[in-house]
Symmetry: C2
Subunit: 1024 residues, 2 copies
């Protein structure tokens, strides 16, 4: 039975009797804004972490309460009658991962009631993503995806679009959050709780906690957002907490009982309001009435707020009202006040002296890598799902989407959750991956067996994939090819450009040959699997899969592949036929550290010089660009501070999951037994170094690439000395960088960083290292007047340039103490076999390159996309040779001679569940970043969809829950303070001509479209 | 707007949708009892202490949550929708003090809904008194009054009568509770949680935790009740706690989420059920689903119980159902099982080795005295309110009734609450007293100015009373009578017998004379106010009233008064006229301790001998009864144990508010400077002794009385040595008492106690003193084969006979440690002036007398009533002499030559708010207690109401919420085990003939009547 509006009315009336109605006192909660008074906007809210101390499901159902008393189901269950009881009461709800769990369990009648509450504005969705994502360790594509997932759900179920950004808890705030996930989503404002304590202090004095934020240099005022940092945190003023069992004084207004305290409470309220008004522009202040997992019995809060509004307004000194951030924002806007401008971002964040929340930039590097790998995979999988056609019933990418969305939470990818919760995120990703893997395999099978050839609808090809390739484990490729079997490798490229790249797979056989899609043998190289990698493989395969692999492949087979845009090529690996044919075995040379010699490696433009007795890289030269630098690479570790020397009034502060607080830097000098092993071949040169017993490194140069790839295996970090450690690598040059370096914002814009300096206030430096750390998702670079030195990363890490000419990345952390920010667990990741545990080893890569000044962006942007979207490998076996006749061996989703411009990436191509196709195109360059590419560019949609006819193209806001034109129409135009720097006209792509279907993209612009194709959707149909 | 039944129906339906309805799972909670299976009766309940760590009002509104998170308003607010959501859900509510606070704040529509819930049985009132009263420190009259207050409210508002006794938390259980507040109230069963750990262990083995309890030797099977002690406590089995944030595993039955655990939880449930079934007769077991202040969000419990019932019954191994103690009781009864018989009581209670909860028998002796004094005053005030006629608007006795009711709570008069809560009880009593004092004053004024004389409706006499007479503070009597003023003392006797007694009032003037109602001068005696009393007066008057009295009276004036039953006499005190007239000044003689002499005091039958060098009483003789005993009285103290020597596996156990655990006994020997002061006069002889610096004692013999009164001032107990102390007095004789003594049950039946012995099990003695302590409300006595030695008390105390021939009373306790039973505060009572605090002093009395064997009961019963109902003194001043002509000087409410039989007390005479009159008559003797008086006796109601015509007389159950005949009709007849001792026929008074109006009373019978008078109710009308 669905509740009709009239029934709802009756219900509201009756539940009203049950809850809001006192026999003797009818509380007047109807007050709106009163001009001329301090208006205290009471914003009832709950902050529900999508996993932290408990898993998301545990938080939802309220299990595992011994860790933390929290049950989101209670919050939402109790909220509905509390709102029904008084139509003036309001509530905001944020985290859609929880809301969706609740929603799907509600009856039609409850759903109908809740829809009315949303329509009436009593219940407002704020932020509206699946989670309140982290802003440091997240990639912008993930931020967009998780926000879109939440926003489209809200749009579909409630036909509303959230208006407000609500990032109240993340530990620092990014430029991308403000301009992209704020303004470009169409939010009218953005509120947050955490801001550097020095910054906050100054802003209180200047009344500049609220401002207009222009996060993007390129999009500037076209993507600005009104923003507010809270005066303290996201909790109520002290003494106004009203959860069950909270100890704030309740308003005792029953004169028949003792302890009547109405005037006391009114006085408390007025005092808190006036104090806040004194640091706030305009006479509107917001009280965030709630905190983590509150409103488990919503009635307790509303009862007290009803009374406070009633009595405070009777008192009359200030005006109290039920409000939401939307109402508050509109009230602020209506004042016509001018606001200061803020550019860049709010990193790093310190909540007090010596407490820089910069450790979490690196915390849980394995999880961070897994999230990033799954993000790239999800992008590719959606493309392949689109090619195949989405199915409602069979496997799809939705569970991976969900898992990834949840993993963006500010206690997920951030690494600040408890270990069991980190395991839960990983489990969800693994489950989501497993389903997406089937989508990919099926789609590729459809594509290779396209109807043109086989007429088959259910393809027979079974593709295997190798998610554990990072630990050199790939059963699909570790097959014996000596019996005439052939290993088919389909290599899928999710980028919009043709791509030449080297792939590496473990193999058993020594004498194998590689043939391309046309059947031509291509050059390939066999590299020995070193002990470090073999050890990693066998230990982690046992730990993760439960058994040690029966045999260890002896080699990596490496070869260069060439893959069309949004398409695949096919390579076949088989036993080599005849002498001279087949792969080339690498030459291997080992140098002991006592040998004093210099080794040069690199067969292409880039040459590296290593000193054998120093055991390290010493020089970098690019013979094409003629760049040469003395580059020394080294490893160090910081000891984690244990807080023991903090004397009062300082609060003891350990290093921990959140906080980086080094207690001494220790250079790791290669030991006496350190050796350099040089592996050379036609495809790759590698220098293997065992730095010490727990660091192994491979420096790798691909013949065709002008950059250096460094692969490291770090761990287990030793803690026998009872001290936690944080391992960094430094790349030192002689460049005069003048304290300046650049780090990306969520993999997108680069922001200029100056050591020991903040744009917004005079920094007091207490932590010269931790206080200069920034999150790195794409890369970090520095410049002098002739060159730029760029480092790109494969996952989120923390990094800095703590010394001129040097770049430092933190690769791994293992700490033995908690840092008192709530997680209550030391960040001490271990891996166990048969209950014997050892510290986690991290395998990862970073890449560096030196360019002439002004020329580094091309590599950072293009190769950055390649890192994010590695080639996707699918394996199958075949007997016999005639593949080309029976299968499609090469495919591209775009027009046959088309590829996206060099400055554009296809960041979303996805068939939605309503059959529409979601497309996002991203200009990859900022204004002024590259001479040639920081320009307006075009994408031809007809070429992007060569086999389809676009019936309707609708440009949407970034989260695809409203038309872009509607969003623009509603946008509030905030006044900024006079004297704010004027700005050049912002460039934006123009409207898309529906016949030409060419999309213009200005620098840093991302455009989002919903496409409806004219004809019925043809699956995997393409011209032969 | 009142909800009509059909509206209610709709509401139920709709709220049902809101709460109980899951989209995918409809939980079947409709299961009833299933024969042949273990039936697990889930009894949802909350245990809401009417004050403990917080005051009753704080618990109700949820303030002071920093002490304890508890808010009863939440419980009741959240309960209503939770019950509406599923008609199978049930709940019991117990404490009417809370329920009434909630009820009066509810709208008509909520009240209407709740009435439906009560009618349908979803909400059942259990126990139903204002509080769950204590059973050790309470007087049976208070127990009856507070139960009546709750029961009549429930009857009036809901037309239901509670069926079940529910004393789940009190610390030991009394015989009076079982037979009187259980069976005589009409309860079908009585459940409780606390029972001696040794007793419980044995009962588990014997499956005798449930039994038929015959608490009264006299009334035996006519007042038996089916009773059950819970197997552990009154909480759910471990792992089944479902309050918000409780950490029991919730039933996670959503297969789309992780951690699905239905089978695990079902297995846990079945295991707990089987374990309990194994120690329980029949296949019905009760789970008390709740505990202290739970169900603040009732939904959280019901959601889990819904699921458990659903899945456990699907599993089928046991049967789970929503139940109540009523349903459980009926199910037990239906089995036709035979039950063991229990007699006597469950004192003392130990919850583990060395943890005897016998300290609280004495804890907070001042509060205990205040409660007792107010109880007697309330009885008298109601009589006077009845004479005057109850008014709805003016002052009445209701607030004193409320305050007294709340003070009976098992953490109130018990002394086990926090200090601020004890203060709250005292404040409530003081407020209630102040209003009742007005009722008394006005009523007496009406009576003395009766219309017959003055025609006045608003009397002009302003009577003052002296509630601080116990600290010798009485401004009304401390007036200067030398100016011709006369002090009029109206002396009211609330007993049904004529009474001769000595009253004592402080006076300023030395030369005063006392005249009786007839104007005859009577003998009076002036006693000097000693320093101990003067110090007590001045210190406590300053502490309580804020200022030291300007002058200190020098004397007590004592004289014998004679007052008719339910009536008053008038005495006039004025300046003595002429030599020889007026009061007699006492002779005072002081003996130093070095003097070796013997003093005899007593001018009547009783003579006491004191040894001056021993400084103590040595001999007692009654020259009339010819009893003589060597009696030595002394004081000792126990050191409070500090738990420090408790080695594992013992849990450290301090002495504290609950627990008496002595660590050594220390005799207090009068010091060298001790002296005996003997005060003699025509009315009283006194022996004053300063025992030490903190004990002062007066031994007093009234000329006309055959007992000894001992007044003590004890305190501040010294704690400079860091050790808490418990002070006792011992009365030692040479009687051969064979380990046996007798203590009363709540001031009513006497129960035989045998040292180091329990009737029900083989006692393991760990605490030879604390384990032999019993609560004393009326008195304690012992016998040998010729005499009996009786001690009566003025308040609840703990006492024992730890040595043959000796009786010991604990008078005061001051402890420095908490005893880990929740109060979390040391019982260290202090009194402060200007922030300088010192330990509380206790002023009190006990009385003793020695009789020939078999003759002690008369004194214990008659004088016991006089202690409970002291003469009520009202003072006014007058000029001139002609009082007798203008005022009524003597009055009796009963027929002119009538008085109640010696074995009957009028324990209630009260006009109810509906105009009916509530009458309770109590036979004061047990069977066999007294040769003459343990017999059936009669009360003539026509004589009791000489000026009224009884129109309708309805005999009620004890709590006056149902007719006695109805109650008898419904009574369940439990089968008892064969071999249970057979019993003689129980004697009970027969039906009252409506014309004769004579009430028969059998030994120990209390009969309760509602009386409607035929004519309109005439106020203070009586024959001249």
């Amino acid at each position: 039975m669905a509740a009709t509006p009239s029934l709802l009315c009756l219900l509201t009336l009756l539940v009203g009797f049950l809850f809001a109605d006192s026999k003797f006192i009818a509380y007047d909660t109807s007050q709106g804004i009163v001009p001329g008074k301090i208006n205290v906007h009471l914003v009832p809210h709950t902050h529900d972490d999508v996993g932290w101390l408990k898993t998301v499901d545990q938080y939802y159902v309220g299990s595992n309460n011994s860790i933390q008393g929290a049950c989101v189901q209670n919050v939402l269950d109790s909220l509905v009658p509390a709102l029904l009881a008084d139509k003036n009461r309001k509530f905001i709800y944020v985290e859609q991962a929880f809301f969706q769990r609740w929603w799907r369990d509600q009856s039609d009648s409850v759903q109908s009631i809740v829809k009315q509450l949303v329509t009436s504005g009593q219940l407002e969705f704020i932020n509206g993503g699946m989670c309140m994502h982290d802003e440091a360790a997240t990639h912008y594509i993930d931020m967009i995806d998780q926000t879109t997932l939440g926003h489209r759900f809200i749009k579909r179920e409630f036909d509303v679009t959230p208006r407000i950004g609500w990032q109240i808890d993340p530990f620092g705030h990014s430029a991308v959050q403000a301009y992209m996930l704020g303004a470009e989503v169409g939010f009218d404002s953005l509120f947050f709780g955490r801001i550097d304590y020095q910054d906050r202090a100054k802003r209180k004095i200047e009344k500049s906690l609220e401002f207009v934020w222009r996060g993007s240099k390129s999009l500037s005022s076209s993507a600005q957002i009104f923003s507010g940092a809270f005066p303290e945190n996201y909790e109520p003023p002290s003494g106004f907490y009203f959860e069950v069992n909270d100890d704030s004084p309740v308003v005792q207004d029953d004169i028949t009982l003792f302890d009547y305290n109405v005037q006391d409470r009114v006085n408390d309220f007025v005092a808190a309001a006036v104090a806040q008004a004194n640091i706030t522009r305009t006479n509107h202040i917001m009280w965030t009435m709630g905190t983590d997992f509150k409103y488990q019995y919503a009635h307790t809060w509303f009862r007290q707020m009803d009374k406070l509004i009633h009595y405070v307004n009777k008192d009359g000194r200030v005006n109290a009202l039920y409000s939401t951030p939307s109402i508050y924002t509109d009230a602020k806007y209506a004042t016509n006040e001018s606001w200061p401008i803020k550019t860049d971002d709010f990193f790093p964040y310190a909540d007090r002296t010596n407490a820089y929340w910069t450790g979490y930039f690196t915390s849980r590097p394995a999880l961070k890598n897994y999230v990033r790998a799954m993000s790239g995979y999800y992008l590719a999988a959606r493309q392949l799902e689109y090619f195949k056609g989405r199915t409602g019933s069979g496997p799809n990418t939705d569970s991976l989407a969900d898992a990834l969305a949840i993993a963006q939470h500010h206690d997920a990818v951030s690494g600040t959750e408890k270990q069991h919760v980190a395991n839960d995120y990983a489990k969800r990703l693994a489950i989501g991956y497993t389903e997406a893997e089937q989508v990919v395999a099926t789609s590729l099978a459809h594509l290779v067996e396209s109807a043109s050839y086989t007429g088959s609808v259910d393809p027979t090809t079974k593709f295997q994939q190798c998610p554990l390739l990072n630990i050199s484990y790939c059963p699909a490729s570790e097959v014996n090819l000596s019996q005439g079997k052939q290993l088919v490798v389909v290599v899928y490229n999710s980028l919009g450009w043709k791509r030449d790249d080297v792939i590496r797979i473990p193999v058993i056989n020594e004498d194998v040959a590689v043939h391309d899609s046309e059947g031509r043998e291509i050059e390939s190289q066999l590299l020995p699997l070193d002990d470090a990698h073999a050890g990693l493989r066998n230990y982690y395969a046992k730990a993760y899969l439960g058994q040690t692999p029966t045999k260890t492949p002896n080699y990596w087979l490496a070869f260069t592949v060439s893959v069309p845009p949004l398409g695949f090529s096919t390579y076949t690996i088989s036993a080599a036929k005849g002498a001279g044919a087949g792969c080339t075995r690498s030459s291997v040379q080992t140098f002991q550290s006592k040998e004093e010699s210099t080794i040069e490696v690199g067969q292409g433009n880039v040459k590296l010089t290593f000193s054998t007795n120093q055991g390290k890289l010493t020089n970098y030269v690019n013979r094409r660009s003629l760049v040469e630098e003395l580059v020394e690479q080294s490893y160090s570790f910081y000891n984690g501070y244990n807080g023991s020397d903090d004397k009062a009034p300082l609060i003891p502060q350990n290093a921990g999951a959140y906080i980086f607080r080094p207690n001494g830097t220790f250079l790791i000098k290669p030991g006496e037994k350190a050796s350099l092993t040089v592996v050379r071949g036609p495809v790759i040169d590698e220098v293997h170094q065992r730095i010490n017993s727990w660091i192994y490194q491979v420096t790798r140069i691909h013949k065709e690439k002008d950059h250096v790839e460094v692969e490291f295996i770090v761990g287990p970090l030793p803690t026998d000395d009872g001290i936690g450690k944080e391992v960094v690598t430094q790349l030192a040059t002689t460049m005069a960088t003048n304290k300046t370096f650049y780090t990306d914002s969520n993999g997108r814009d680069f922001i200029k960083r100056i050591r020991d300096y903040r744009t917004d206030w005079d920094l007091k430096v207490h932590q010269p290292i931790a206080g200069n750390y920034y999150p790195i998702n794409l890369g970090i670079y520095m410049q002098d007047n002739s060159t730029e030195f760029s480092v790109l990363v494969d996952r989120s890490v923390g990094g800095s340039s703590t010394v001129d000419g040097q770049i430092e990345l933190m690769l791994h952390r293992r700490l033995l103490l908690d840092d008192s920010r709530g997680v209550a667990e030391a960040l001490n990741e271990t891996v166990c076999i048969d209950n014997v545990c050892s510290g986690l080893r991290i395998q990862g890569k970073f890449y560096f390159r030196i360019d002439p000044l002004g020329e580094g962006a091309k590599w950072r942007r293009t190769f950055g996309q390649e890192i994010y979207s590695p080639l996707l490998l699918a394996f199958s076996e075949q007997d016999g040779d005639n593949r080309k006749n029976s299968h499609v061996t090469t495919f591209s989703g775009v027009g046959s001679s088309y590829s996206l411009p060099d400055n554009v990436a296809l960041i979303t191509l996805q068939e939605l569940d309503d059959g529409k196709v979601l497309l996002r195109l991203a200009h990859l360059y900022e204004i002024g970043e590259d001479r040639d590419l920081s320009v307006m560019t075009n994408v031809e949609l007809k070429q992007l969809f060569p086999r389809k006819k676009i019936g309707k193209l609708t440009e949407m806001n970034l989260s695809a829950n409203q038309e872009r034109t509607e969003m623009e129409k509603k946008r509030l135009n905030w006044k900024v303070e006079e004297g704010s720097s004027s700005e050049a006209k912002v460039s934006r792509g123009g409207p898309v001509d529906p016949t030409k279907l060419v999309v213009e993209l200005a620098p840093m612009e991302i455009r989002t479209f919903l496409i409806e194709f004219n004809q019925s959707f043809h699956r995997y149909l393409f011209d032969a």
